[in-house]
């Protein structure tokens, strides 16, 4: 870009009609992504957002950057392919909790092993919204949301635990109705060197009648003296919680602390950064150790043909090893 244009959040909006239900928690996530991009002065063509399937996945159609709406559960490997081929792009990856932790659970685990430099956001509402409200992997055992015939027979997976176990090096949770806080988390997640995982609590007003906006906001339990609701969600950074691993010797302590914190649920639900460790080499750095030119000449930026289509790959060395020359 010749001139640095100042883009506003609405400059990252498309004209596509948004068909989410009124009050959907996805609106908050969409808005915060656009705000974060504007605040970070992102150039739209340098950003790619990859999503899976479900209401969360439609987000990319409402954001004016490259948007790749893929298959159920497969956002992560598509995003990984984009980022590995062109690490100069900023890559965000979006899934729902069914998308990312159910059908896509295998990829969730393996993304942690790589520590690729990208941000993965799970829109976490406990239900499969677009297929009319079946129980999703983060819905607790015994909970009966409104379209379930019986209380949930499966227990919930804990995304924070899973992300830590898999090796994510930045693990956080946000709440889609706390826009300002969420913008901060998205910016941190993008800035983090390595694989950043952000679990966003996101009420589904149509199918999850248990974990509602009112429930998160504590409207069912008002302070007796003030008469004001006592929100369930609280911020880790306001609770003198330090998630940062400053030295490899701290990994065990900080992991234990994060796991312990991630068990809190019900009356008090922590949001904010649970764990941050930039001491683990990223996948890009690991590749560059093997292929020194990877950073400047990643796959997408390498020339492969001359002006008339002449193949530029020189096979001489490889062919020589396989050749028997006349004696």
């Amino acid at each position: 870009m010749a001139l640095e244009q100042v883009l506003k959040p609405q400059d990252f909006a498309t004209e596509v009609h948004n068909d989410w239900c009124p009050g959907c928690g996805d609106f908050g996530i969409l808005r915060t992504i656009q705000m974060a991009f504007a605040e970070m002065k992102m150039e739209p063509h340098r950003v790619t957002i990859v999503s899976g399937i479900g209401c969360s996945a439609k987000t990319i159609h409402y954001v004016k950057t490259y948007g790749v709406h893929t298959l159920h559960g497969r956002a992560l490997p598509y995003a990984t392919g984009v980022k590995l081929a062109n690490p100069q792009l900023t890559v965000l990856c979006l899934s729902g909790d069914g998308d990312g932790l159910g059908i896509g659970g295998g990829h969730f685990v393996n993304a942690g092993r790589r520590n690729l430099d990208m941000l993965y956001i799970i829109h976490d509402n406990g239900v499969y919204g677009l297929t009319k409200g079946q129980a999703a992997p983060t819905l607790k055992l015994g909970v009966q949301t409104k379209s379930l015939a019986h209380p949930n027979i499966n227990d919930a997976v804990n995304p924070i635990w899973l992300a830590l176990a898999a090796g994510a090096t930045w693990v956080a949770r946000g709440y889609s109705y706390d826009i300002k806080h969420l913008v901060g988390l998205i910016k941190q997640g993008i800035d983090h060197k390595g694989y950043a995982f952000l679990d966003v609590l996101q009420p589904c007003p149509t199918y999850n009648d248990i974990n509602t906006k009112e429930w998160y906001g504590g409207e069912d339990r008002k302070d007796e003296t003030t008469g004001r609701p006592m929100p369930r969600v609280y911020k880790l950074e306001e609770a003198s919680y330090d998630p940062v691993v400053h030295d490899n010797a701290e990994i065990e302590e900080k992991s234990e602390q994060a796991l312990h914190k991630a068990l809190e649920w019900g009356d008090r639900i922590p949001i904010g950064v649970f764990y941050r460790n930039e001491l683990i080499p990223t996948f890009e750095e690991r590749i560059a150790k093997r292929v020194p030119t990877y950073t400047e000449s990643p796959p997408a930026l390498q020339p492969i043909a001359g002006p008339n289509g002449e193949p530029l790959t020189d096979l001489t060395k490889l062919l020589n090893r396989l050749t028997f020359k006349p004696a």
């Binding site: 490259y66 893929t70 590995l84 062109n86 400047e296 530029l312 028997f324 004696a327």
Partner: protein, 656 residues
């Protein structure tokens, strides 16, 4: 036995032994020594899905001329253990020889737990009918009865001598030398020059002087011994002068080379037999050279590399490669049947989003796990229809090493030009075989990236880039993620020109028609010599129709049949989709007998030919026992058809 005429440089040789005992490298040394001496070789590798202990063997042909297949008969069988003898001694020709360890002679058939019950029962019948017992010595006696030369080699004594000479304290540390002792004995028997073997050992064990020394010493002792035991063996190998350089490679390597030459810079894979060989070869050679410094942008000469990523499963493999392809990278994945089964949804996504994705499909015997290390051409129809809904793709099937190189290259051109997945079919019989071939002339190959948006494109808010522009024919110019001015969207849903979701029925029709019109374009533009090739007289009464690796044994069988004056044609189809309907009709319309030759149960290509042309095959020659076709059995089967002695369906069954 009357003294037989000497047969020079026309040999079928086999070595067998338990998996993991070094049989593979010994076959490699034998082949390399032959190639070193100017001979041409074709080698076939057979093994169980097992790490250690099960029987494996290599069948190798050495010839003055180029060889493209294996044959049923074995002239020299070399082994240092018993199971190989029980399994293969009956394949040795009457004028052939068996190299064996006499100290194992008393071993009984029942001592070998890895021999299948059916084969054991068959061998017992063999022994009883000859009034023999069931030891290895009995097996050898049966061979000797019909004239086979027995070459006893004291493997253990030679090993002990080597241990003494090189001061090795334990024989087990050098037990693998038995392989080279067997090779040394083979070359002594065949009168081949020993120097070629020394050179081959130096190549295979590069930088390990002591290993080379011990192996050379062991081989030399066996060489001299075999030579003195059988001074007048009728098969003879002689070094010949080659004037041109030759490649010695496997089908997997050939495919990998084609892909690299075609500019592939990203490949994903999940470990699977036999596809992993290609990815491992690529991984070993990830740093590439760029040529034409004048052509390459300044400073980029040393910047070429291919990124090979081992993924968590094949779903990740196909989707990750697709993600990479969206950035403009030439990207591929390589897999085999079970992995390909997991890729269906990803193929559909690439097709509806018009992403140039290359999938190299190494077929092996299915269904399900099937026989993972054995051969089949069973996935033609599967590849043709893979994925739900109707999604166009191009299917290329390689028949030999050069086609593997070319198709590896061309797959990317077609993927880019027609913006759709290209499935490159290779079968295990080709992937795992190795041969010497003349260095192919690839100077005609040019990289074609199809319609792409130039860097300075002038798109604006008012005039936005449309990834799926319907205004300029079926192919819309492609932009890459990260290219300024070209924001676009992709979705697995049906989409509009920008790439956003639509369920508009009229737009749906336009998009379906656009995607399929690209196939018509491909059918028009892809050159005839890529689509198919016809061998033999144009007016042949009998035309064979085949695809894939059967090309080698077919051409070798046909050379013999043509030499005998048979009027036979052979139509080798390489472009399966879009199907070259008109050309196939032209070649088949007048033939009286049309014979499908395929390594599957259902004659899959024959079905496609009938579907596309209305022409039915009159005969089929099929094989589905997991072993590749030999030129011997093809020769017999084709001859039966031409003599009108063949049933409509002939099933070939050879192979151990």
């Amino acid at each position: 036995m009357s003294p037989a005429a000497v047969k020079v440089n026309n040999l079928s040789w086999m070595i067998g032994g338990p998996q993991g005992s070094g049989v593979e490298s010994s076959a490699n040394v034998f082949a390399r020594a032959c190639a070193q001496g100017g001979l041409n070789v074709f080698g076939k590798r057979e093994f169980y899905s097992n790490i250690m202990g099960e029987h494996s063997y290599f069948a190798l042909r050495a010839h003055t001329d180029v060889v493209r297949s294996h044959v049923d008969e074995v002239n020299v069988l070399a082994t240092f253990e018993v199971e190989t003898l029980f399994r293969h001694a009956r394949e040795v020709t009457d004028d052939g020889a068996i190299i064996y360890d006499p100290s194992l002679g008393k071993t009984k058939l029942s001592d070998i737990p890895t021999i299948e019950k059916r084969l054991a029962a068959d061998l017992r019948t063999h022994f009883i009918s000859r009034g023999l017992g069931e030891t290895m010595d009995d097996m050898l006696a049966a061979s000797k009865q019909r004239g086979v030369t027995l070459v006893p080699i004291p493997f253990k004594e030679i090993l002990e001598q080597i241990a003494n000479e090189f001061q090795v304290d334990q024989l087990s540390k050098i037990s693998r030398i038995v392989n080279m002792i067997a090779i040394g004995a083979s070359f002594g028997l065949l009168g081949f020059e020993f120097d070629a073997m020394t050179k081959a050992l130096e190549d295979v064990f590069r930088g390990k002087a002591k290993v080379v020394g011990m192996n050379v010493a062991g081989a030399r002792k066996a060489y001299d011994l075999a030579k003195s035991l059988v001074p007048d063996f009728p098969y003879h190998l002689e070094a010949t002068k080659q004037t041109m350089p030759r490649l010695f490679l496997t089908g997997s390597q050939a495919t990998a080379l084609g892909k690299l030459y075609g500019g592939m810079r990203f490949q994903t894979y999940y470990p699977i037999t036999p596809a992993s060989d290609e990815s491992e070869y690529l991984e070993e050679n990830e740093i590439l050279d760029l040529n034409g410094h004048a052509l390459a942008p300044a400073g980029s000469e040393k910047a070429a590399s291919v990124l090979v990523v081992q993924t968590e499963d094949e779903i990740a493999a196909v989707t990750m490669a697709t993600g990479a392809a969206l950035t403009g990278t030439r990207a591929a994945t390589a897999t085999s049947g079970p992995g390909f089964s997991l890729m269906m949804e990803g193929i559909g996504w690439a097709s509806i989003n018009e992403v140039p994705l290359v999938i190299t499909l190494y077929q092996r015997a299915g269904p399900s796990t099937g026989m993972p290390t054995r051969h089949e051409q069973g996935d033609l129809r599967f590849a043709l229809h893979a994925g739900h809904g109707e999604c166009p793709r191009i299917l290329l099937a390689s028949g030999d090493f050069e086609e593997s190189i070319r198709d590896g290259f061309l797959a990317f051109n077609y993927a880019d030009r027609y913006q759709m997945p290209v499935i490159h079919l290779v079968d295990k019989a080709l992937a795992n075989s190795y041969a010497t071939i003349p260095v192919p002339d690839l100077s005609d190959l040019r990289i074609d990236r199809g319609m792409v948006i130039p860097p300075n494109n002038g798109y604006s808010k008012e005039n936005p880039y449309k990834r799926f522009d319907l205004g300029n024919g079926p192919v819309s110019a492609r932009a890459f993620l990260g290219q300024e001015g070209t924001i676009f969207w992709n979705t697995g849903d049906e989409h509009d020109e920008l790439g956003h979701i639509t369920e508009d029925p009229a737009l749906r029709n336009l998009m379906m028609e656009k995607r399929f019109a690209k196939l018509d374009l491909a059918a028009k533009e892809i050159p005839e010599d890529v689509k198919l090739r016809y061998f033999g007289p144009k007016d042949a009464d009998t035309v064979l129709v085949s695809w894939g690796s059967t090309k080698g044994p077919l051409l070798d069988a046909l050379d013999r049949l043509w030499a005998e004056g048979a009027k036979l044609g052979y139509l080798h189809v390489r472009l399966i989709n879009p199907f070259p309907t008109e050309s196939v009709v032209a070649y088949l319309a007048k033939a009286k007998r049309r014979v499908a030759v395929e390594m599957n149960f259902g004659a899959q290509l024959a079905g496609i030919v009938r579907e596309m042309t209305g022409i039915a095959m009159t005969h089929s020659i099929l094989k589905y026992n997991g072993r590749p076709m030999s030129s011997t059995e093809l020769y017999d089967a084709i001859k039966a058809v031409t003599r009108r002695k063949a049933a409509k369906r002939t099933v070939l069954t050879h192979g151990a």
